[in-house]
Amino acid sequence: MALLNKKDAALIKDPLFDNNPITIQVLGICSALAITAQLEASIVMTFSVIFVLGVGNVVISLMRNIIPSKIRIIVQLIVVATLVIIVDLVLKAFAYELSKTLSVFIGLIITNCIIMGRFEAFALANGPWRSFLDGIGNALGYGVILIIVGFFRELLGTGDLLGLGQKLLGHPLLGNPIPGELSGLYKYGYENNGFMLLAPMALIVLGIVIWVQRSRNTSLIESH
């Protein structure tokens, strides 16, 4: 990236791979398990977190010298909550359909530990520009994992993917527009695995992602 010097570029790049908030820091797991049953939900959540973390980091960074240390956590919480509520209201007024898709995630954004974690660990000690990059980087790192997990869960669990999956795999017996007719892979005995839709499978898919990442880069393996 020619726009950014090496140190700044690392702020975006590190959280995507070697310092990923989910797979390495193990933050934000709860929402990663809860909402990844559908790819669309994962994507929407990714964009919401990019916005909230990017803007929130800048706001906290601008306020870093005037925030009283005793109540800094409360101040951080208020900033996240305010941002999220404003976004929610604006969406409800101007993009009602989208706000309905988002509704359930609003609460989850506020409780996302990555956001508080970045405020506390980075924005309170760095300038606005670097904080902004750090926010975007971490949100993207979070989103990449969400999208990977969401992709496998929706595809294998429901045989669908953003409403396109039936073109990939064919039509199962249930939910088939032509009753009584199987098509595509289903003709050869393939079946959807409903278990993929339940939370335990999210944990297992996430575990596989962590395994693949650590086996490719052994320096990430913690020694105990």
Partner: protein, 249 residues
């Protein structure tokens, strides 16, 4: 020396100023957008009602409402009459769609209050359908919907929605593969008594060919949402049964 920002007085003043700014900002945003949000909700409600009676833009497998700009015209075109049933009293009121079911459900805690039940009469291609709004509890939060019936309480179409059911599981109650199963289902049993429609995991009828069994096939992994939905259909539609029986006679 103690830093300025560590002092108690500074902390308190900071907190007060922050609360005032944040409170003001939120109040300003909320009140300036309120009109638009209410309007959006009303449009959505009309879209739901029209969807249930079969006025929609569904493609092969996805549920789609008619577009926002067509709603007002379609609503006056297809919805012929709006009724409010209160006890034995039935009166026409073209603001019946504004009745808030949640408030009506809460109001009956007061024993003197007689709940108002809205009913919409739609007419499409000569066929009359009776559309009723319902509301109940899912796993995480409220679920609601609109059920369109003929005069024998046979379901003509439904629309369900939810506030926060699990994505990919309970949230699928607003998908066609689930909602379409209700079409043709009978709400009355064989003796013409109100029975409702159960959401069953074991009815041995996954393709829902049997329309007289008062059961539809459940969604895997969403037992509580499904049970809540069946309970909602039962408790919210039962009060209308006497109206339909009177209609028949």
């Amino acid at each position: 020396m103690e830093k300025k920002t560590d002092k108690n007085s500074y902390t308190i003043i900071f907190a007060i100023i922050m609360v005032i700014i944040v409170g003001g900002l939120l109040a300003l945003t909320a009140s300036s957008l309120k009109g638009k949000i209410t309007a959006n909700k009303e449009i959505e409600k009309k879209q739901n009602i029209l969807y249930a009676m079969g006025i929609n833009e569904n493609d092969a497998s996805n549920a789609k409402f008619i577009t926002k700009d067509k709603v007002a015209v379609a609503f006056t075109k297809y919805i012929k009459k709006q009724l409010i049933i209160q006890g034995d009293d039935v009166k026409a009121d073209d603001k019946a769609y504004l009745i808030d079911i949640k408030k009506e459900q809460a109001a009956i805690k007061n024993a003197n209050y007689k709940r108002r039940f809205p009913l919409f009469l739609g007419k499409k291609e000569g066929k009359i359908s009776y559309i009723v709004p319902i509301r109940g509890k899912g796993l995480w939060d409220a679920i609601w919907g609109f059920v369109s019936m003929d005069k024998n309480m046979v379901v003509q179409g439904v629309y369900f929605d939810h506030k926060g059911e699990t994505a990919g599981l309970g949230a699928n109650i607003n998908q066609r593969f689930f909602m379409d199963d209700f079409i043709g289902e009978h709400l009355l049993d064989k003796n013409n008594k109100f029975k409702g429609i159960a959401v069953s995991k074991s009815n041995n009828d996954p393709k829902n060919n049997d329309k007289l069994d008062n059961e539809v096939d459940a969604i895997a992994g969403s037992t509580i949402t499904g049970d809540g939905l069946a309970a909602m259909i039962y408790s919210e539609l039962a009060p209308y049964a006497s109206y339909f029986i009177a209609l028949k006679n």
